[in-house]
C-alpha cells in the first residue's frame, strides 16, 4: 500500500475539473483536452500521441491545451501554436508545404500515372489480334465443354482449373 502514496497523475491545474465556468461559458473537461491532444504528437518521444504520452513536457502541454481551450481558442489555433513552439513534429504528418508535398503527392501521382499508362498499354494490347498458342491451358479449356448453359459451363471451368 505504500506505493499508493506516490501520486501519479496528469494534473490539470487552473481548469475546471470541478466545472467552474470559463470565459466562454462552458467548462473545459479532461475529455476536451484529451480530444485535442489526441490529434497531436509528443515533440520529444518517437511517434507517441500527446494524449497517451506521460513525460513531463507532454503533461505540461496538456495543461496549456486546457488553458487555451478555456480562453476560447479552437483546436486548430492550438495546433498552430504548438507547431510554432515545437516545430511540425507535433502534427504527426509532414506539413503540406514545400518539399514535404512529395510525400502527399508522389504516391497518388504514381498511382494515377502508372494507372493511365497501364490502361493505354492494355487497350493497345487487347485490340491486337488474339493469338492462342496451342497447348496452353487456355487452349485446352476451349475444348472442354461440359454443359450447355454458358454460365454454368464457365463456373464449371473455373472450379475445374485455376
Amino acid at each position: 500500500m505504500l506505493l499508493l502514496a506516490v501520486t501519479f497523475t496528469v494534473k490539470q491545474p487552473g481548469l475546471a475539473a470541478d466545472g467552474s465556468p470559463t470565459p466562454t461559458g462552458t467548462p473545459v473537461t479532461q475529455q476536451d483536452i484529451m480530444r485535442v491532444a489526441a490529434t497531436m504528437y509528443c515533440p520529444l518521444c518517437v511517434g507517441e500521441r500527446l494524449d497517451v504520452c506521460e513525460i513531463p513536457l507532454c503533461r505540461e502541454m496538456k495543461v496549456v491545451i486546457g488553458e487555451k481551450l478555456a480562453v476560447g481558442e479552437t483546436p486548430a489555433q492550438i495546433r498552430t501554436f504548438f507547431v510554432k513552439q515545437y516545430g511540425p513534429v507535433v502534427l504527426g504528418e509532414p506539413p503540406k508545404q514545400g518539399l514535404h508535398l512529395i510525400t502527399w503527392l508522389l504516391p497518388a501521382a504514381a498511382l494515377l500515372l502508372i494507372g493511365i499508362w497501364l490502361f493505354l498499354r492494355l487497350q493497345r494490347e487487347t485490340s491486337a489480334p488474339v493469338t492462342i498458342t496451342a497447348g496452353t491451358p487456355d487452349a485446352q479449356t476451349k475444348a472442354t465443354g461440359v454443359s450447355d448453359d454458358p454460365y454454368l459451363q464457365q463456373v464449371e471451368k473455373e472450379t475445374e482449373k485455376w
Binding site: 506505493l3 504528437y41 504528418e93 508522389l106 497518388a108 493469338t131 463456373v155 485455376w162
Partner: protein
C-alpha cells in the same frame, strides 16, 4: 561460462561451413558435379545444427542467469519469470539475429530436403544462395551483434527485460514475424536460381508459390499477433500505431500479397515473368531493408533495438542484393518476354494488374512515410513524426480502392468478360452493396466516404459468397452432390481458389472491424472519487477504489471498476499500473471486457491521494473482436490453400463421374 564458448565456436564453424557450401554449390552449378552439390546440400543441415547448438547455449544461459554474458545481463534479471527469460532470446538485437539465423536454417533444411530429388537443375544455385544468405547473417551475428559477448566485470543481477515486452503476445508474435520475414528467403533463392541459370520456365514458380504462401501465412500471423500485443499493451485504445517497426512488417506483406496474386497470371497466361521475379525479390529485399531501417538507428521507433553497428553491414548487403539482382535481370531480359497478350480490358487479369499496382503504391507510400522523418531531418532540418494522420489519409483511400478491385477480381472472368456475364455476376453483390449503404443512411451515417466503404464491403462479401454458392450449385448440378459435400469438394478440388476466398472473407471482416473501430470508437476521460460512476456507450462504470500488491518483479496498482449494462452487473474491470522494480515509469495494463459487439477498454490514467480521485481513459471499440476473428479466418483460408489435399484420387473419381476432362495442374 562454458556456454558462451560453445555458442561462439558453433557460430564460427557454421560460418565456415556456409561459406564452404556457398562456394561448393556454385562450383557444382558450374560443372554439374553431383557429389559437390550433395555436399552443399548436406552443409545446410550442418549449419542448421551448429546454429541450433548456439541457440541452445544462449537459451540455457538466459534461463540459468549466466550473468557473464552481456546479452543475459542486459535482457533479463533473476526474478524475471522463466517464460520471459526464454523470450529474451528474440527480445534483443543480438539474440534476435541469432533467432533469425535459426529460423533461416530450419527453412533452408526443409528446402534442402526437398532438393534431394526435385528441381535438380535449380538445386545447386538454390543451395549456394541459401548458404550465402546464411553466411551473411552469421557474419552479422559474429562481427556486429554477438550474443555471446562476455561482460568485462562481474554483476550480481541483470538489468531486466523492458516491461512492455513482458506480455505473452510479445512472447509469440515475433516468432510469427521472423518466420514470415525469413520465409521469403526461399522464394528469393529460387527466383535468383532461375534467373542465374536461365531456367525461367514455370518450374520454379510452382515451388515458389507454396513457399511464398507459407511465409505469407507466418507474416500475416505475426502482424495480427503484433497488433494484439499493441492493443493490450500500449494502452492507447488502438492496435496499429504506424510505427516504423510495424510498417517494416506491413511493407513486405503488401508486396508479398501482390506476388501471390500476380503469380496466378503467370501460371495461367505465361505473362508477367519479370514482374513476378521483381515482386519476389522486392519482398525479400524489403524484409532486409525494414530490418536495416529499424535496427541500424537511422529511424527512431518506439520498438527500436538499441543502436548498434550492424547498420553498415546490413547496408552493404542491401546494396549488393539490389545491384546483383538488377544486373541479372537486365542480362536475362530477352528470355523474359511474355508468351501471350491480354485478351480484353474487362477481365480478371486486368483487375489483378491494378490490384498489384495498388499494393505496390501502398507499399511505396508506407515506405516513403516511414523514411520521410529521416529525409526531412537530413535535408530540411525539420524533425518530424509521420504517423496515423499521414497514413490514414494516404493509405486509407488506397485500401478502399483495393477493396473495390478485390470484388472486381472475384467477379470478372479470366480472359474476357461479356456484358451478359458482367450483369449476371454483379447484380446480387451490387444489390447487397446498396442495401448496406441504405442501412448506413438509416443509421444516420452521412459521411459519403463511409457510405462508400459500407457499399464496397458488402459488395465484396456478397461477391465472395456468390462464388461459393454458384460453385456449389454448379457441382450439385453436375454431380448431384449434397450441399455440404459440394462445398467440401470445392475446397478439395481447388483449395487455392476457395481457400483464397476464405482469406478474402477474413480480410473483409478485418476491414469492417477497422472501419468501425476507427470511426465509431467512443472515448471518455474521467476523474472519479470512490463510489462515483461514469457511463460510456451502454455501460455504467462505478469506481470502487485503488489497491496494490506485489507480484514477482513488480508492484501492481489496480483500480476496481464495477461494470453494469442496462442496470445489470456484467463484471469487474481492473485496469492496472505496474511499477517494475527495475524501471521508473509505471507501465499500464489495460482491462478489457470483450463482447461480439465491441470491447470496453479501460486504462488507469493516474491518481492522487491513494486513489481519491483516480482518473481513467475509457474506450469502447466497436466490433474489435472481429478484427482478430477475421485474422484467424484469413489464416485458416491460407492454410486451406497450402494444404496438400490428396488430389489424384479425387480427380480420377470426378473424371469417371462425368465427361472426361483433362486435369490441369492449378
Amino acid at each position: 561460462m562454458l556456454f558462451d564458448q560453445i555458442g561462439y565456436v558453433a557460430l564460427s564453424l557454421a560460418l565456415g561451413v556456409s561459406l564452404y557450401g556457398m562456394i561448393v554449390g556454385a562450383w557444382s552449378a558450374k560443372n554439374g558435379n553431383r557429389s559437390w552439390q550433395e555436399s552443399a546440400r548436406r552443409g545446410i543441415y550442418i549449419v542448421t545444427g551448429l546454429v541450433a547448438i548456439a541457440s541452445a547455449a544462449l537459451v540455457y544461459a538466459l534461463a540459468s542467469d549466466d550473468f557473464t554474458l552481456r546479452y543475459v545481463v542486459t535482457h533479463t534479471e533473476r526474478n524475471l519469470p522463466l517464460l520471459y527469460k526464454l523470450a529474451a532470446f528474440w527480445g534483443g538485437q543480438a539474440g534476435s539475429i541469432l533467432f533469425w539465423i535459426l529460423v533461416l536454417g530450419i527453412y533452408a533444411s526443409i528446402a534442402a530436403r526437398q532438393l534431394r530429388r526435385q528441381n535438380q537443375a535449380l538445386a545447386p544455385y538454390v543451395l549456394s544462395i541459401l548458404h550465402g544468405v546464411l553466411a551473411f547473417f552469421l557474419i552479422l551475428s559474429l562481427f556486429a551483434a554477438n550474443p555471446f559477448r562476455i561482460m568485462n566485470f562481474v554483476v550480481s543481477d541483470g538489468q531486466g527485460l523492458d516491461p512492455l515486452l513482458q506480455n505473452y503476445w510479445m512472447v509469440i508474435h515475433p516468432i510469427g514475424l521472423y518466420f514470415g520475414y525469413v520465409g521469403f528467403t526461399i522464394p528469393f533463392a529460387y527466383a535468383m536460381a532461375a534467373l542465374i541459370s536461365g531456367r525461367l520456365g514455370n518450374a520454379w514458380l510452382k515451388i515458389v508459390r507454396r513457399w511464398a504462401l507459407v511465409a505469407w501465412v507466418a507474416l500475416t500471423f505475426g502482424i495480427i499477433m503484433g497488433s494484439q500485443w499493441a492493443y493490450i499493451e500500449l494502452s492507447w485504445g488502438g492496435f496499429w500505431g504506424w510505427d516504423p517497426v510495424e510498417n517494416a512488417s506491413l511493407i513486405p506483406w503488401l508486396t508479398g500479397t501482390a506476388f501471390l496474386h500476380s503469380l496466378i497470371i503467370q501460371e495461367r497466361r505465361g505473362m508477367l515473368k519479370v514482374w513476378n521475379l521483381l515482386l519476389i525479390f522486392l519482398t525479400f529485399w524489403l524484409t532486409i531493408v525494414g530490418t536495416f531501417l529499424t535496427r541500424s538507428g537511422v529511424i527512431e521507433s518506439v520498438h527500436a533495438f538499441a543502436i548498434s553497428n550492424i547498420g553498415p553491414i546490413l547496408f552493404a548487403f542491401i546494396v549488393f542484393l539490389v545491384v546483383s539482382f538488377l544486373a541479372l535481370l537486365f542480362w536475362r531480359w530477352p528470355q523474359l518476354q511474355s508468351e501471350q497478350h491480354l485478351d480484353a480490358l474487362l477481365s480478371r487479369e486486368t483487375s489483378f494488374l491494378y490490384n498489384n499496382l495498388l499494393f505496390l503504391v501502398i507499399a511505396f507510400a508506407t515506405l516513403l512515410g516511414t523514411i520521410w522523418p529521416m529525409v526531412s531531418e537530413m535535408v530540411l532540418r525539420d524533425k518530424l513524426t509521420v504517423s496515423a494522420p499521414f497514413f490514414d489519409k494516404v493509405d486509407g483511400p488506397a485500401f478502399l480502392l483495393l477493396l473495390i478491385l478485390m470484388a472486381a477480381g472475384a467477379l470478372l472472368s479470366w480472359r474476357r468478360t461479356s456484358w451478359s456475364t458482367l450483369v449476371h455476376q454483379f447484380r446480387w453483390p451490387l444489390v447487397c452493396g446498396v442495401i448496406a449503404m441504405v442501412v448506413g443512411l438509416v443509421a444516420n451515417e452521412k459521411r459519403p466516404w463511409l457510405l462508400a466503404t459500407f457499399f464496397v464491403l458488402a459488395l465484396n462479401l456478397a461477391a465472395v459468397l456468390q462464388e461459393y454458392i454458384l460453385g456449389m450449385l454448379a457441382r450439385r448440378h453436375a454431380h448431384h452432390e449434397s450441399v455440404s459435400a459440394a462445398l467440401w469438394r470445392l475446397f478439395q478440388r481447388n483449395p487455392r481458389r476457395y481457400g483464397g476466398y476464405l482469406v478474402h472473407i477474413g480480410i473483409i471482416v478485418i476491414a469492417t472491424a477497422i472501419v468501425f473501430q476507427h470511426n465509431y470508437q467512443l472515448d471518455r476521460e474521467v476523474a472519479l472519487m470512490p463510489g462515483q460512476n461514469t457511463t460510456i456507450g451502454q455501460y455504467t462504470l462505478t469506481y470502487e477504489g485503488l489497491r496494490s500488491r506485489t507480484v514477482g518483479n513488480h508492484q501492481e496498482i489496480y483500480a476496481t471498476l464495477q461494470m453494469q449494462r442496462n442496470g445489470h452487473l456484467v463484471g469487474i474491470l481492473r485496469p492496472k499500473r505496474n511499477l517494475y522494480f527495475k524501471g521508473n515509469q509505471p507501465v499500464s495494463e489495460v482491462a478489457l471486457h470483450t463482447t461480439l459487439k465491441g470491447d470496453l477498454y479501460a486504462v488507469l490514467a493516474g491518481w492522487e491521494n491513494g486513489g481519491r480521485p483516480a482518473s481513467f481513459s475509457l474506450y469502447f471499440n466497436p466490433l474489435m473482436i472481429w478484427l482478430w476473428i477475421g485474422g484467424y479466418v484469413a489464416l485458416l483460408g491460407s492454410i486451406v490453400a497450402i494444404w496438400p489435399f490428396p488430389r489424384g484420387r479425387l480427380a480420377a473419381a470426378a473424371v469417371s463421374a462425368r465427361a472426361p476432362v483433362r486435369r490441369v495442374e492449378a
